[in-house]
Symmetry: C2
Subunit: 432 residues, 2 copies
């Protein structure tokens, strides 16, 4: 009756041997839509940035040598030879002892090799008095000094945030090859689950996992598809899973995996393809009944029906796979150091996860407090928690006052959506 369960690490090993997560394809995306997506190719600059040598200030384009003896009270006297407009090819050439007025960003005219700031020059009709010397290249940005044509400027695997997008725009790149988002199906099972919007009859509860798991999949870069609630009935489960597997890159189900008589998922998973179930229960708390199968090259994660357990196991097993499949570099959610508010006990022989909420004390020290007392069934545990503390199999408890590493559900959580105190790594300012 008490079969030996795989430890979490063993389970991860077994999974690794059966499935290698990798990007599911690439697609060309218009620049306006690349935000927060992953580059599938190195970006090699097709042109110099700036494309031409330009002035960095408003002033006078000069040959530096003509200004070397200039002083506050003994200015160099140059002949005015014209204006350099911005956005056009200069028509004038700056010859010995001449200068042309130029604005920020305008192309440096032939002959000139530096710019004197407006503040240090005074124009008198056709002559310009320069009150400060400049050296060659001063206040000038040379063509290609920022990005050189042919240079690899962004790397495959990088996420395009506002700044990367700016670089792409500077290079005139309008379409970018990005990794496709992995398609992940979300299936809920259980005779007690009803769709939102339907009346809640006695003994029923609303479908939570479809929404939490879909949101979590989206948050880590996947593209969730909600299949909805499938009744605990062999042929229907089989049909739904078969169909879904053909269309999706991964399937995540919840419910129907504990030892109850109606738990058919494990039976179904072994009838759909090879190798079938590779992990059947894990020595963790919560999340013990978690079952994992690989079916003809596609993973199926069958998580417990309990929303907290389901989401926790999602973070442990599913999220890292999805992150790899997005093609992005980094896979680990951020971890912050905190001090345990009270003693947190581990379940003997099982890797235990305790949902905690974070608050900051007056010294800016982060405090981790259990988000619920033992009720792994509690939905509010989820909403109250900022992350979880992990207690290893050989550890009995984390004591009050001990340092605890908290794995955050959302890095944003510390700056958005929650009132947490100032921490060592996050501060809050007043707007403007």
């Amino acid at each position: 009756m008490f079969r030996k369960l795989l430890s979490l690490d063993e389970a991860k090993e077994v999974f690794k041997r059966n499935f290698l997560p990798k990007p599911v394809g690439v697609e060309s995306v218009p620049l306006s839509e690349v935000g927060n997506r992953v580059l599938a190719e190195d970006i090699v600059a097709p042109l110099d940035i700036p494309p031409f040598t330009r002035s960095m200030v408003d002033g006078y384009a000069v040959r530096a040598v003509d200004t070397f003896h200039a002083e506050e009270n003994e200015p160099a006297t140059l002949e005015f030879c014209g204006y350099i407009a911005i956005g056009e090819l200069p028509t004038v050439t700056v010859k010995n002892h001449t200068t042309a007025e130029i604005v920020t960003g305008a192309p440096l005219p032939k002959g000139a090799d530096a710019v004197v700031m407006l503040e240090y020059a005074v124009r008198q009709d056709n002559t310009v008095l320069i009150h400060r010397p400049v050296s060659a290249g001063e206040k000038v940005m040379t063509a290609g000094s920022d990005i050189q044509k042919g240079e690899t400027i962004l790397e495959k695997g990088q996420i395009s945030h506002s700044r990367e997008i700016g670089t792409l725009a500077a290079l005139g790149i309008t379409e970018v090859v990005m990794y496709k988002r992995p398609k992940v199906a979300v299936i809920s099972t259980g005779a007690e689950i009803v769709d939102l919007g339907e009346p809640l009859l006695p003994g029923k509860i609303y479908d939570i996992n479809t929404f939490t798991l879909s949101a979590a999949i989206r948050e880590c870069g996947g593209e969730p598809t909600s299949v909805g609630i499938i009744p605990d009935e062999m042929s229907q489960l089989k049909r739904a899973l078969k169909k879904t597997l053909t269309m999706m890159d991964m399937v995540v189900t919840s419910g129907g995996v504990s030892v109850g008589p109606k738990d058919l998922i494990p039976q179904v998973l072994n009838t759909l393809g090879k190798p079938g179930i590779i992990i059947s229960g894990i020595a963790v708390k919560p999340g013990k009944p978690t079952t994992v199968a690989v079916i003809d090259g596609k993973p199926v994660f069958s998580l417990p029906g309990n929303p907290t357990s389901a989401l926790l196991m999602f973070y442990q097993l599913v999220r890292p796979q999805i992150r790899c499949m997005t093609g992005a570099y980094e896979k680990a959610p951020p971890i912050v150091k905190a001090v345990a508010e009270k003693r947190m006990f581990a379940e003997k022989g099982r890797r235990t996860f305790v949902m905690v909420k974070l608050t900051g004390d007056k010294n800016g020290q982060l405090i981790a407090s259990p988000a619920a007392l033992g009720l792994s069934g509690a939905i509010t545990t989820l909403a109250k928690a900022d992350g979880f503390v992990e207690i290893s199999e050989d550890q009995q408890f984390i004591d009050a006052g001990d340092e605890a590493s908290v794995c955050l559900f959302n890095p944003e959580i510390n700056r958005e959506g929650r009132k947490i105190g100032v921490s060592s790594s996050f501060t809050r300012n007043d707007p403007a």
Copy 2:
């Protein structure tokens, strides 16, 4: 010629006196689309969670008192009185010395007050041997023990991530009142700017700011609308700004604000409404020419054309306003402590921002290195930088080895899109 500029703090004060950022309205959003949006109302539970008292395990529903004398070798003997199916109202009642088989999540039948785990019970025909005593309430989750009907479970101003969405789903809430995203117009000006996709004629550069600013606006919760490039021509600028102001909550322009002859934006901003320009230049580097106006209750931020300066001033002045207008709690981007790799100098009398990239040394210490050497014009400065270091007006420099607070552009930057070393507050694991 050297007029006294406002310091950054003075500028923020002036702005505060002229504009109070607040949410721009609310709208009802279907649950499937509330991800990452801001709650505009407290959520009060319309029902108990769980809605009924349910078993937390697979086992036997009992009256605890009937098991008090049970022992491993002297089990309590109870009469089997039926099955409790999940998702239905129980038909059986557990009377003295009787028990009903029950599965996880099924409603506790009348009479029963606890559940004995399957592992500790053995059924023999019509009798069930209980080998362990249980106390009242054991392995049972009482109706409303998680969320009580009428309880305020989520707060106005919270961002709905996967976990908050789970709570809403549990309560059967299908539509949520969320704050509207503030509409922010993005306008680029400058005779040298050309649209992406167009040929890059001599003296021209591509429009970068439309893309960087739009992405940055979206990243902080605003809804950007790109107006595109408006020529440096009085009447066209005037028409574009007038039209935009009627449709948007805020306008952000870039270019056309330095002291060059073609810089018309300041002139235009004083002709459109009251009070007009309230900030005309700020003692910062980069970003000095930044001009801010409030026109009939709507802010217009005119940022420098230089992409790095524009985005930096966006983070300083614009982002906090947008964050407030989204209705979310927290406004400050995260700050991490790092050690300065080399000495970073400040511009005399001006708040100086140095773009830095972060790397981790072997001890996990974050190192901040300048992302570019002086070239505030450099576009790559942006792409290379993870954030910026602030040097106050009265400070000459931050020395090599000094601790520097780095304001991050994206909190995700440390776990996505960039290869940075392990830091004190972020770690990376292998997937699975």
